[in-house]
Symmetry: C2
Subunit: 198 residues, 2 copies
């Protein structure tokens, strides 16, 4: 399959590319570091990306920004960042991108564990992650031509926890997280939220 | 308790007012039909409302707009309506309103069944309702002075189904829906999503 991986240079994106490139044609896309670039917060940039790649069998997105911080210190702009980037950026990938996906292809988006297991400081991120899961369940009912949509909700990645000086024992190795995207890509599920807790 | 009910003239709001006004002091607020008005999509309007009401023990919100319709026909503006009104309108009630709520008071917001039981046409609403549930779970961890936040996720109301020429047998009487708000107001739960399926 011809598969666009957005966020291909990030922690999770790199692991996805590594997990699938031996048997699929991967088109790596990122905000600034790949030959093909996209700013998912900008609908015109999404359309331009698909104009460059042409039709594909699948899109995997492991990109999007949202702000972590105490609710009282989060500004309107901090909430707007999550809504415009991680949330509507990925929603707009579906809205603008479905026509570029071949019959029986798939779109896989990324939410995150904070949707269901919040922590202090996660209000804006929990909002966005839950929104993506609700959107994915609903959008799946309307996808045309057998195109599937699923949401991977990654647990904390071990390396991320180490980088934040948090307890790495609650995390999941990034190779395990990547396998959820492989299941969404190669499986038959539609409208599911794929957990990666392990 | 002194309780602001926002959306007091709507189907659910009227039932909430009826359910609690025999034992609490209700301040009814609505977009246009009450003595005190608020446009929750406008942060300045929220602040003005609290300036008028002064401190209260609880805020219940059963207001907010979001657009139903096939995903391919929903415009950017349709998605923005749900984000600005039902979602961030209610989130901003918490962000701006918590300081006006007395110790051990509560805020109760409204999501809806489409968060977990989507249907064709619900992508923008499912997104918003799920976002509210994720936000509520996370915000609960940071509320000060014993103030609680909960989300009521109403099932379809029987009268609404009748108005839409849908099967009313899957619905819940509005008086039963209102009891979920009473439980959130008078109970001790925090960060919960109160289902009203019956």
């Amino acid at each position: 399959m011809k598969v666009i991986v957005i966020g291909a240079t990030g922690t999770i994106g790199r692991a996805i590319v590594q997990a699938i490139s031996n048997r699929h044609e991967v088109i790596p896309v990122s905000h600034s570091k790949s030959a093909i670039k996209v700013d998912i917060a900008d609908k015109a940039s999404i359309t331009k990306m698909f104009g460059t790649t042409g039709r594909v069998d699948a899109v995997i997105c492991a990109a999007g920004l949202a702000k972590f911080g105490p609710m009282t210190s989060l500004s309107d702009e901090d909430f707007a960042l999550g809504l415009n980037s991680k949330l509507m950026g990925q929603v707009n990938l579906v809205r603008s991108g479905t026509e570029y996906i071949n019959d029986n292809g798939s779109i896989t988006l990324t939410s995150g564990i904070l949707s269901r297991r919040p922590m202090k400081g996660s209000s804006a991120i929990s909002l966005v992650n839950s929104a993506l899961e609700g959107f994915g369940r609903a959008a799946a009912l309307e996808m045309p031509r057998g195109v599937r949509i699923n949401i991977v909700s990654p647990n904390w990645v071990v390396d991320t926890l180490k980088a934040f000086n948090m307890d790495p024992s609650i995390g999941t190795p990034v190779e395990v997280v990547a396998q959820a995207y492989v299941r969404a890509l190669e499986g038959t599920m539609n409208g599911e939220v794929l957990d990666t807790i392990k």
